[in-house]
C-alpha cells in the first residue's frame, strides 16, 4: 500500500551559514501516523515549518495532498491543519471564539462553520467550556482545543509539533487517544516529538532525525526488532571471560562491556535463552551475580542509530521577548 500524501525530496534549509536541514527525503502515506523523532535542535521544527508553508522552501521538492508548497502554497494551506509547538491561543478569547475565528480565517461558510464547531467541541470534550476564556483552561484542555482548531477545516493532514510537550503523563496518554481517534476517522497525522514513548506508542512509522538528517525510517516494531530480540545484562565474577564466551555464541550480538557487567542482545526469544546462557557461564566456573532482561525500547533504537542517548531537554529556544505566558 503506497499512496503518499506527503512527499519530500532533497529538502535542505539553512539559516545564514547554519544548515538546519540537510537533504532530507521521505514520504507519508495517506492514513498514517508518521513521527519525526529527534532531539531539540535536530531540525524537526524547520521541516514542519517548511511543510506548513511558514518558511519558504529553499532547496528540494515538497508536495502535500498533491500540491507543491513552492507553486501553490495556498492549496497546501487549505489541505492541512496545524497544532503548533507552543500554545497559540488568545488568552482572552473564548473557546467558541477561537474556533469561530479559525473557521472564518479559512473562509468556511457560516452554517458549516457553526456545525463543525459543535462537532469538534463534542469530540474534544470541551462543550461545557465553550464560553470560557482560554486562560481559564488547563494545559490539556488548551491542547485539545488546539487539536479541534486544527481539525476545523477537515484537513487531509494534521501537523503537530511536539503535541504533548509540557503535559502530565495521564494527559499525554489521553491526548494520544484523541489523536488515534482522529486518525481512525481518516486524517493523516504528521508529528514531531522528542519523546521516545510517544513515537513508539502513537506512530505507524518513525523517522529518526539527528543533525538535520534522517538516520532511519521504519515502523517501531521493525526498528526495535532490528536491534535483536531482547537485551540482556549480566554481572559475573569474571567480566572479561564472560564477554569472550558470549561473543562465541551464534545468537548473541552487540556485546558491550559496562563497568560491572556485560550488555548484549540476542536474536531469539531471550526468556528461553537466558537459562542456557547462565548454565554455559557457570560451566566455565564463573559465578553469575546479577541478571536483567528487557525488550528493546525506542531509547535503545535511538542509541543504536545515533550512537548516543537522546540529548537531554535543553531550555526551549524562545526568541527574544517570546514567552509562553503573558
Amino acid at each position: 500500500m503506497s499512496d503518499p500524501i506527503i512527499e519530500v525530496r532533497g529538502l535542505s534549509h539553512a539559516y545564514g551559514d547554519v544548515l538546519a536541514v540537510d537533504n532530507i527525503s521521505f514520504s507519508v502515506n495517506r492514513g498514517e501516523i508518521f513521527a519525526f523523532l529527534g532531539p531539540n535542535g535536530a531540525g524537526k521544527s524547520t521541516v514542519i515549518n517548511v511543510l506548513i508553508t511558514l518558511l519558504s522552501i529553499q532547496n528540494g521538492e515538497v508536495s502535500i495532498a498533491g500540491h507543491d508548497v513552492r507553486t501553490s502554497p495556498e492549496m497546501v494551506r487549505r489541505s492541512i491543519g496545524i497544532v503548533f509547538q507552543e500554545v497559540t491561543l488568545d488568552r482572552d478569547m473564548t473557546v467558541w471564539e477561537i474556533l469561530e475565528f479559525h473557521g472564518r480565517l479559512y473562509n468556511l461558510p457560516r452554517e458549516e462553520r457553526r456545525a463543525r464547531i459543535e462537532e469538534l467541541l463534542e469530540l474534544v470534550e470541551l462543550d461545557e467550556k465553550r464560553d470560557s476564556r482560554t486562560k481559564e483552561l488547563s494545559g490539556g484542555m488548551k491542547r485539545r482545543l488546539e487539536i479541534a482548531r486544527g481539525l476545523m477545516t477537515r484537513p487531509q493532514v494534521l501537523f503537530l509539533d511536539e503535541p504533548t510537550i509540557g503535559l502530565d503523563p495521564q494527559t499525554r496518554i489521553r491526548m494520544w487517544e484523541y489523536l488515534r481517534a482522529v486518525n481512525r476517522a481518516g486524517t493523516t497525522i504528521f508529528l514531531t516529538t522528542h519523546y521516545m514513548d510517544e513515537a513508539d506508542h502513537l506512530s505507524d512509522r518513525i523517522s529518526i532525525i539527528d543533525h538535520g538528517s534522517i538516520v532511519v525510517t521504519d515502523t517501531p516494531i521493525t526498528l526495535k526488532n532490528g536491534l535483536g530480540e531482547d537485551i540482556m545484562y549480566l554481572e559475573t565474577s569474571d567480566i572479561v571471560r564472560t564477554e569472550e564466551l558470549l561473543r562465541n555464541l551464534g545468537y548473541v550480538r552487540d556485546v558491550r562491556k559496562k563497568r560491572k557487567g556485560v550488555v548484549f542482545t540476542v536474536t531469539e526469544d531471550g526468556t528461553r535463552l537466558l537459562p542456557q546462557i547462565m548454565d554455559d557461564i557457570r560451566g566455565q566456573g564463573i559465578a553469575v551475580t546479577a541478571v536483567n532482561l528487557k525488550k528493546p525500547s525506542m531509547d535503545d533504537v535511538f542509541v543504536h542509530y545515533t550512537g548516543r542517548e537522546l540529548r537531554d531537554e535543553r531550555p526551549q529556544k524562545w526568541g527574544a521577548g517570546r514567552g509562553r505566558s503573558r
Binding site: L55, V87, T88, D90, Y106, N107, A320
Partner: protein, 278 residues
C-alpha cells in the same frame, strides 16, 4: 471580493470591548485633556489675547474651541500609532502563526487592524465632541441639523483617512520589531515631534521657518485643518490670528492625507509580505 479582513477586525473588536480598563481609559483620557489642559490653557490664552482687537466681521472663537479640534487629532494620532502594537504581541506570543499559515492574504491583516483602529478613533472622536460641547466647546455653532451632520461626516472622513495612515505605519513598525520596549520607544519618539510641530495647541504662523516646513508636511496639521473647517467654519479668528480655510485648502489637505495613507499602506504591505514568523 474577499472580506477576510473582517475576521481580523472582528477579533480586534472583541478584544477592544473585552478589556474594560483599556476601553474606559482610552475614552476617558481625551476627556481629561479637554477638562484640565483645555480649561487651564483657555483661561490663560483668552486673558492674554483679550487685549488684541478682534478682526472686524469675523467670528472670534475661544481657545477651548480652537483646541478641541487639536484634542480630537491628538487622540486619533495616539490611538492609531499604538493600534498596531497588537501585531507585535500576536507575533511574540505565536498567535500570528495561525494567521500567517492560513490562506488569508497578509494585506488583510493590515486592513483588518486598520479598520478596527479607525472604528476606535471614530468612537473616541465622537465622545470628545460630545464631552467638549458639554464643557463649552463651541463646535457647529449656528449650524442647521443637516449642516451639523455633514460636518460630522466630514470630520469622520478626515479622522478615518489620517488614522488609517498611522495604523499602517504602526503595523509596519510592529511587524518589523522584536521587542515591545523598542516599539514603545520608537512610537514615543514619533509622537512628540508630530504633536508639537502641528497646529493642535497653537497656530503655526509664528513658528521659525524650519518648524513651519515641518508643520506643513505634518499630516496632523492637515487633519486639524479639516476638523476646524468642518467644526468651526471657513473663516474665524482665534488666539488673535485670523484663519481662512478655502475649500481648495481643505481639498489639498485631504489629498495630502490620502496620499500619506496610501503610501503607508504600500509600506505595510511590503513589510508584511517579507515578514517571517515561525
Amino acid at each position: 471580493m474577499n472580506f477576510g479582513f473582517m475576521t481580523v477586525y472582528w477579533r480586534d473588536m472583541i478584544r477592544f470591548f473585552r478589556f474594560k480598563t483599556l476601553l474606559i481609559s482610552s475614552l476617558v483620557q481625551p476627556a481629561l485633556w479637554m477638562a484640565f489642559f483645555g480649561v487651564a490653557m483657555s483661561s490663560n490664552f483668552d486673558r492674554l489675547s483679550a487685549g488684541i482687537a478682534p478682526v472686524a466681521g469675523i467670528e472670534q472663537i475661544g481657545y477651548l474651541t480652537f483646541m478641541g479640534a487639536g484634542v480630537i487629532a491628538m487622540t486619533t494620532l495616539f490611538t492609531s500609532l499604538f493600534g498596531g502594537v497588537v501585531i507585535l504581541f500576536d507575533k511574540n506570543w505565536g498567535l500570528m502563526r495561525e494567521i500567517f499559515a492560513s490562506p488569508l492574504p497578509r494585506t488583510h491583516v493590515v486592513l483588518g487592524i486598520g479598520l478596527s483602529g479607525v472604528t476606535k478613533a471614530w468612537i473616541q472622536s465622537i465622545i470628545i465632541m460630545i464631552f467638549g460641547l458639554i464643557i463649552g466647546v463651541r463646535f457647529f455653532s449656528g449650524y442647521t441639523p443637516m449642516a451639523t451632520a455633514t460636518a460630522v461626516l466630514g470630520i469622520m472622513i478626515f479622522v478615518g483617512t489620517f488614522a488609517l495612515g498611522f495604523l499602517f505605519l504602526s503595523a509596519t513598525i510592529s511587524v518589523s520589531m522584536e521587542s515591545p520596549e523598542g516599539l514603545q520607544g520608537i512610537i514615543t519618539l514619533l509622537t512628540l515631534p508630530i504633536f508639537f510641530t502641528s497646529n493642535a495647541l497653537y497656530p503655526t504662523t509664528a513658528f521659525p521657518g524650519f518648524l513651519q516646513v515641518l508643520a506643513l508636511i505634518n499630516p496632523l496639521t492637515h487633519l486639524i485643518n479639516g476638523i476646524r473647517f468642518f467644526a468651526i467654519g471657513s473663516s474665524f479668528s482665534a488666539v488673535g490670528i485670523e484663519f481662512i480655510y478655502t475649500p481648495l485648502i481643505i481639498l489639498t489637505s485631504y489629498l495630502y492625507l490620502l496620499g500619506f495613507c496610501v503610501s503607508m499602506f504600500l509600506l505595510a504591505r511590503w513589510a508584511f509580505n517579507r515578514a517571517v514568523v515561525t
